[in-house]
C-alpha cells in the first residue's frame, strides 16, 4: 500500500549532473539512490559538457531542482550563471567535498522552498 500513497502525492523531480573533469560518480549515484528512497524521481544525467546542456536538460525534464556536482577545480557559481534561464527551477551546486547526507539535504531543502 505504500506504493499507492506514492502515486497520489506529486513527486518532486530532480536532475543530477556533473560538470568539469570526471570526478567519478560514486557519490552522485549514492545521492541518487538516497533521493529515490525518499520518493523522488531522479533524472540522472551524468557528466555534462556545458552549462547550456544542463539548462536544456533541466527544461526538457521539467525538474524542480538541478543538483550540479562540481570537480575540485571548479569555482564558478552555477546557480548564478544559469539560474536566470531557469525560472521556477532551483539550481544547487554540490561541492566535491560534500558528504552524501549534506548533498541530499541541500537538494531536499531547495525542493521544499518550491512548495
Amino acid at each position: 500500500m505504500r506504493q499507492d500513497e506514492g502515486l497520489t502525492r506529486s513527486v518532486t523531480r530532480v536532475l543530477l549532473v556533473q560538470l568539469g573533469n570526471p570526478v567519478g560518480d560514486e557519490i552522485a549515484q549514492v545521492v541518487a539512490r538516497s533521493l529515490r528512497d525518499l520518493g523522488v524521481d531522479v533524472v540522472y544525467g551524468g557528466l555534462q559538457d556545458s552549462l547550456q546542456d544542463i539548462v536544456q536538460a533541466a527544461m526538457q525534464e521539467d525538474v524542480d531542482v538541478v543538483g550540479v556536482q562540481l570537480d575540485s577545480g571548479n569555482a564558478l557559481d552555477v546557480s548564478e550563471k544559469i539560474g536566470g534561464q531557469l525560472s521556477g527551477i532551483k539550481v544547487v551546486q554540490l561541492a566535491p567535498n560534500m558528504t552524501v547526507e549534506e548533498a541530499v539535504t541541500v537538494i531536499k531543502e531547495a525542493g521544499a522552498q518550491d512548495d
Binding site: Q3, L7, V11, D37, G39, D41, V43, M59, Q60
Partner: protein, 310 residues
C-alpha cells in the same frame, strides 16, 4: 499554453508532459486539445530485455534521424521503486551527443506502478511531442521481462533489441517478445557472438506465428553503437516499415489498436482510482473473501456494481 506547445516551445512542451503525468482534472481540456493536434508523427517503440542497449541505441538513432533533417522526440521510461515511489531515470546518461540540438527532445518518465513497460502517461507524452511537431517519436520502454509488452499496442513500428551473449533468446520466446517485433535489432554487433544471436533470431522467426499476415518481412538488423555500424540500416528499415503500413493500409488498423488499448487502459485507471477512494467497502469485501464466504471474483463483481451506481 497550447499555442506554445504547437510552436515547439521547450518549456511549454515540458510543462504539458508534466501535466499529463499529474493527471489533474483541470488539465483535461488542455490535454484534449493536444490530442486533437497529434497523429502525424511516426511513433516507434524500442523494447528489449534490460542490458540490451536500448538507451544507447536510442541515442545514436536520434543522431542518425537528425542527419536526415527530421526532428525526434524520445520518451525514456524507467521503473519506479515499489517501496518509495521514487525512481532513478538513467536513460539520458547514455544518450550522448544529442545535447544542444533543438531538433531533439528527451523526456524521462517513471512507471509509477504501471505494468507492461510503459508509464501511465507515456502515450500522452507522445501526443505532446507529436503535436509539437516532432517527426519521429521514440518510446524506450522499461526493460521487459516476461509478458510485459504493451508497446506492441502503443507504437506504429516496434523494434525489439537483443544483445549477444545475454542468453536471452529463450527469455524472448517466453516473453512473446519475438513475435511482436516489426524489426529485430542485434546490438553490440562488434562482438564475436553477435552473428550467432542474429542467426538464432532469424531461425526462430521462420518457425513461430507472427502478427504480420501481410507480406512484411521482419528484418534482423545488426547494430553497433560503438562502431557506428548498422544505424543507417535501422533508420532505413524503420522508414520502410512506415511506408509499408501506409502502402498496405495497415496503418489504420495499428492506429485503431493503439486507441483501443488507450481507452481500455484509461478505464482501468479510472476504476482503480475509484476503488482506492472507497477503501471501506473494499475492506468489508476483503474480510468476506478472507473468511471464504465469497470468492475473489464475486467481490470484484460487487465492487464493479457499486462503481456503476456511483
Amino acid at each position: 499554453m497550447i499555442k506554445d506547445v504547437l510552436a515547439g516551445d521547450v518549456r511549454a512542451i515540458a510543462k504539458m508532459i508534466s501535466r499529463a503525468e499529474a493527471a489533474k482534472p483541470e488539465d483535461r481540456d488542455a490535454l484534449a486539445e493536444v490530442f486533437r493536434h497529434a497523429g502525424k508523427a511516426h511513433v516507434i517503440g524500442l523494447t528489449g530485455v534490460p542490458g540490451s542497449g536500448k538507451s544507447t541505441l536510442a541515442g545514436v538513432l536520434g543522431l542518425e534521424i537528425r542527419k536526415s533533417g527530421r526532428t525526434v522526440g524520445i520518451v525514456a521510461i524507467d521503473p519506479s521503486s515499489p517501496f518509495s515511489g521514487g525512481a532513478i531515470l538513467g536513460d539520458r546518461l547514455r544518450m550522448t551527443g544529442l545535447a544542444g540540438d533543438d531538433g531533439v527532445f528527451i523526456r524521462s518518465m517513471a512507471t509509477r506502478g504501471a505494468m507492461g513497460g510503459l508509464a501511465r502517461a507515456s502515450l500522452e507524452a507522445v501526443d505532446v511531442l507529436d503535436a509539437a511537431g516532432f517527426d519521429i517519436v521514440l518510446i524506450e520502454t522499461v526493460g521487459v521481462g516476461q509478458d510485459e509488452v504493451d508497446i506492441v499496442q502503443a507504437a506504429h513500428t516496434v523494434v525489439v533489441v537483443s544483445a549477444p551473449g545475454l542468453g536471452d533468446e529463450i527469455q524472448a520466446i517466453k516473453a512473446g517478445v519475438l513475435e511482436i517485433a516489426d524489426i529485430h535489432v542485434v546490438s553490440k554487433s562488434d562482438r564475436a557472438d553477435a552473428a550467432a544471436t542474429a542467426a538464432d533470431i532469424r531461425g526462430m522467426l521462420g518457425l513461430g506465428p507472427t502478427r504480420h499476415e501481410d507480406d512484411w518481412q521482419v528484418p534482423v538488423v545488426p547494430t553497433s553503437a560503438e562502431a557506428g555500424e548498422g544505424i543507417e540500416d535501422l533508420v532505413a528499415a524503420m522508414d520502410a516499415h512506415r511506408k509499408h503500413l501506409s502502402d498496405t493500409g495497415a496503418i489504420e488498423q495499428r492506429r485503431r489498436d493503439i486507441i483501443g488499448m488507450r481507452v481500455l487502459k484509461t478505464a482501468e485507471d479510472i476504476i482503480r482510482k475509484d476503488f482506492k477512494g472507497n477503501r471501506e467497502q473494499l475492506a468489508v469485501l476483503i474480510d468476506r473473501v478472507m473468511a471464504r464466504e465469497i470468492p475473489p471474483r464475486e467481490a470484484a463483481e460487487r465492487l464493479l456494481e457499486s462503481f456503476k451506481k456511483s
